[in-house]
Amino acid sequence: MRIPILKLHKYLLISVQVELDDQTALQFQEDLLNKIHQEGSLGVVIDLTSVEMIDSYIAKVLGDVVDMSNLMGAKVVLTGIQPAVAITLIDMGIMLHEVPTALDLEQGLEKLQQELED
């Protein structure tokens, strides 16, 4: 299963609509990094509104994706993390400290723009 990656000017938009099993998550990591490279993207918004659960493994993959993208010069914003997901992450002791977040895709794009301005 592959997660579609959309291009919008210098940005990439991803809306995760499938159950994130390990394989899908790893495939996504690879696809995204390739796409950033191909397109020379400056920013990425990953929308997680439809994701019902993030366990420690998926959290690690997501955190890694953010770090790797940053290394390649693309800022990443995570959006739409559901309350139940946020609470389980906190319970698990997973803070995703350095990762910028926003309420939804639209806000995420705005945040990217702001971050890239200053």
């Binding site: 995570l78 959006t79 739409g80 993390i81 559901q82 309350p83 997901v85 946020a86 609470i87 992450l89 906190i90 803070m95 995703l96 977040t101 926003a102 309420l103 939804d104 806000q107 995420g108």
Partner: protein, 285 residues
């Protein structure tokens, strides 16, 4: 208990009850003053002590059941525990006094009698205390429930800015509920900035601070930002004295400052408008 003792108590029933009612009046003035509530009137007292004596007729389990029902009602009507225990103490002295003044009781029997009566009354006192602590725990449960329901929802004050006022003591149970309320509220109101107002929180210890930090982290994860407001001087002192690290959590001393900061974070500010022209509009209209 030996049938002979039960028999004796029954023979002296009226005398015992009357004596006890007199004693309990003294206890009453000592525990509740002169204003005896109607839940402790002679009639109720009499029913109580008659019920205690009647339990001698039943076998143990049945007696316990009868006592429980009655005591529960009295606890509910507001009889304090001290009133029960003092009342039972007087009951014991009245009993012992009656027994020792009774005719045909030799000194060896009296010792046994005392012992049996002590055990009986102690058993009743213990049961009352148990009922009491049981009902006490229930009450705490109920209050805890009420407190949880009391935890306010997130209040939107401006577009994109919401306030979560915290009032009272925050334990783990409540902290969980508050967190859920805040996060659901953020999604519902599309809040960008959440002000957690701790003006109404009496003590901020490491535990409370921990809950607040976790709430702030969760708020950040769903995509909003959090400012802690309502930090009174003594709260600032305890936070520093306890060495609590609030991390990167933004703080302000008043809600007002928090709102100003929130407006700034959402690229807005409050401006004063020209009052003269405003009032002339009103007059002109």
């Amino acid at each position: 208990m030996q049938p002979s003792i039960i028999q004796m108590i029954h023979n002296q029933r009226h005398y015992i009850i009357d004596n006890w009612l007199e004693e309990i009046n003294t206890v009453q003035t000592e525990t509740v003053g002169n204003n005896v509530p109607k839940e402790m009137d002679d009639e109720t007292n009499r029913k109580f002590i008659e019920m205690i004596i009647d339990t001698l007729e039943y076998e143990q389990r049945e007696a316990k059941g009868k006592l429980r029902g009655f005591v529960e009602r009295l606890i509910y009507s507001g009889w304090p525990l001290s009133y029960f225990t003092r009342g039972m103490q007087s009951f014991r002295s009245v009993l012992l006094e009656t027994m020792s003044s009774g005719e045909g009781v030799n000194s060896k029997r009296i010792f046994e009698t005392f012992y049996e009566i002590e055990t009986w009354v102690d058993g009743i006192v213990n049961q009352i205390a148990d009922e009491y602590s049981g009902s006490w725990e229930n009450t705490i449960q109920l209050q805890r429930h009420a407190l949880n329901e009391l935890s306010a929802p997130l209040i939107p004050v401006f577009e994109k800015i919401s306030v979560m006022p915290l009032v009272g003591t925050i334990d783990t149970e409540r902290a969980k509920l508050i967190m859920e309320n805040v996060l659901e509220g953020i999604i519902e109101h599309r809040s960008h900035v959440v002000l957690i107002d701790i003006t109404g929180v009496p003590v901020v210890d490491t535990m409370v601070a921990h809950h607040i930090i976790q709430a702030a982290e969760a708020i950040r994860l769903v995509g909003a930002e959090c400012i802690l407001v309502g930090i009174r001087p003594e709260i600032a002192q305890t936070i520093v004295n306890l060495g609590i690290d609030l991390g990167k959590l933004q703080t302000k001393s008043t809600l007002q400052q928090g709102i100003e900061a929130g407006l700034q974070m959402t690229q807005r500010k409050i401006v004063k408008c020209n009052t003269e022209s405003a009032s002339s509009v009103v007059i002109g209209g």
